[in-house]
């Protein structure tokens, strides 16, 4: 009666977890009331407008205040592409032996061709305007990757050059790291802003934030396309169902 046991265990865990979170409360200020507590989010919101001149506070946190996390996160994606390649590697490579999800009709192929450029454009728009409106490098990169996904699904022999992917990926990653290191100029710190910040709500504002986000966008797009491409090229030995 493993199932009953597991359900009981989960009920206990769930009860305590729910108890804790309902105690914290929803929609109100949950921080401990004390003079010592100054939630960093207030500082973030204030600094975003005053010093960075970035409209989207999430962007300013992701790219500037906690840019180191983002560097790590991009690395996680890079690693998972590498890991995928290493795990699925085998000696004989069946080129062009791709698993086909469905045989696309001419409507689908024509439609995909039509949709492909607008999707790329949308993705680019999203990551270029990451500091002004919702969206940014990750979102834009993912949108571009879905564009490639569409093409890969619609055309059986549509290929993406592996070398091109890794060149784009590497250059974007190097840009990020080098911009980070350039922060040391003028006695600054890693990832410190060294460009003028401009005015709020302008396209050219926020110093290095848009540049980093564009690099992140390219990198994420290349990496996710790589993930899809690697998995898609991996045909199982035997098919069922």
């Amino acid at each position: 009666m493993k199932k009953v046991l597991v359900i009981l265990l989960l009920a206990v865990v769930g009860f305590y977890l729910a108890d804790v979170f309902i105690g914290i409360g929803f929609g109100n200020d949950h921080f401990v009331k004390s003079d010592e507590i100054k939630p960093v989010k207030d500082i973030y919101l204030q600094q975003t407008v005053e010093n960075l001149k970035v409209s989207n506070a999430v962007t300013s946190i992701v790219v500037n205040f906690r840019g180191f996390d983002t560097l790590g996160e991009v690395t996680v994606l890079f690693l998972s592409v590498t890991a995928l390649g290493s795990i699925l590697y085998r000696k004989r490579h069946h080129a062009g032996d791709r698993s086909v999800l469905f045989s696309a009709s001419s409507i689908v192929t024509a439609g995909s061709k039509l949709l492909f450029p607008p999707i790329l454009l949308l993705g680019a728009y999203v990551f270029i305007h990451g500091h002004l409106s919702p969206g940014g490098g990750f979102q834009g990169g993912v949108i571009i990757a879905t564009g490639f996904l569409l093409m890969l699904l619609a055309y059986e022999n549509y290929t993406v050059s592996h070398n091109a992917l890794s060149i784009v990926e590497s250059f974007a990653g190097i840009t990020f790291a080098v911009i980070g290191l350039m922060g040391f100029m003028n006695g600054g710190t890693f990832l410190q802003n060294f460009l003028p910040v401009g005015t709020l709500n302008d396209l050219f504002s926020g110093g290095i934030i848009p540049i980093i986000y564009i690099a992140v966008g390219f990198k994420v797009a290349a990496e996710l396309t790589g993930v899809i491409y690697t998995v898609l090229n991996e045909k199982g030995d035997q098919k069922n169902g």
Binding site: G14, N28, D29, S55, A57, V76, A83, I87, L88
Partner: protein, 126 residues
């Protein structure tokens, strides 16, 4: 909006987030199919993300974006916590990376065993 409404919402939002996490956890612990386990892991991730984002929500809050519209229309409204949203962003991407790795392992196991049934794969002590 009045407070009883928010009290009710507390139970609904947190309750559903935690329930989704538990359902995913159930799949991980009980199910015998490797793919079901990976599906369970991704469901746990979804529930967790909802939990974190709802933690950052504020009553009558507005999105943390200082657009032109914000200064004209909503300048007196509190902004929801941007930090938690940034963290969730990171967590989603990391979750995707882990899911992709797990799925590639599933494909590897399928190649060797031609089954996803956990009891047939167990060569090592579980």
């Amino acid at each position: 909006m009045d407070n009883t409404y928010y009290d009710l919402l507390t139970y609904v939002v947190y309750g559903s987030a935690i329930l989704v996490m538990l359902i995913g956890l159930y799949a991980v612990l009980v199910k015998k199919s490797l793919l079901k386990i990976v599906i369970g892991l991704s469901i746990v991730d979804s529930g967790l993300n909802l939990l974190i984002v709802s933690l950052g929500y504020l009553k009558n809050g507005t999105a943390p974006i200082f657009s032109k519209g914000f200064f004209e229309l909503a300048a007196d409204k509190p902004m929801v916590d941007p930090l938690l949203q940034a963290l969730v962003l990171t967590a989603i991407v990391i979750g995707f990376g882990v899911t992709a790795v797990a799925l590639s392992l599933v494909i590897r196991l399928w190649r060797h065993h031609h089954t996803l049934y956990i009891d047939e794969i167990k060569n090592l002590k579980w």
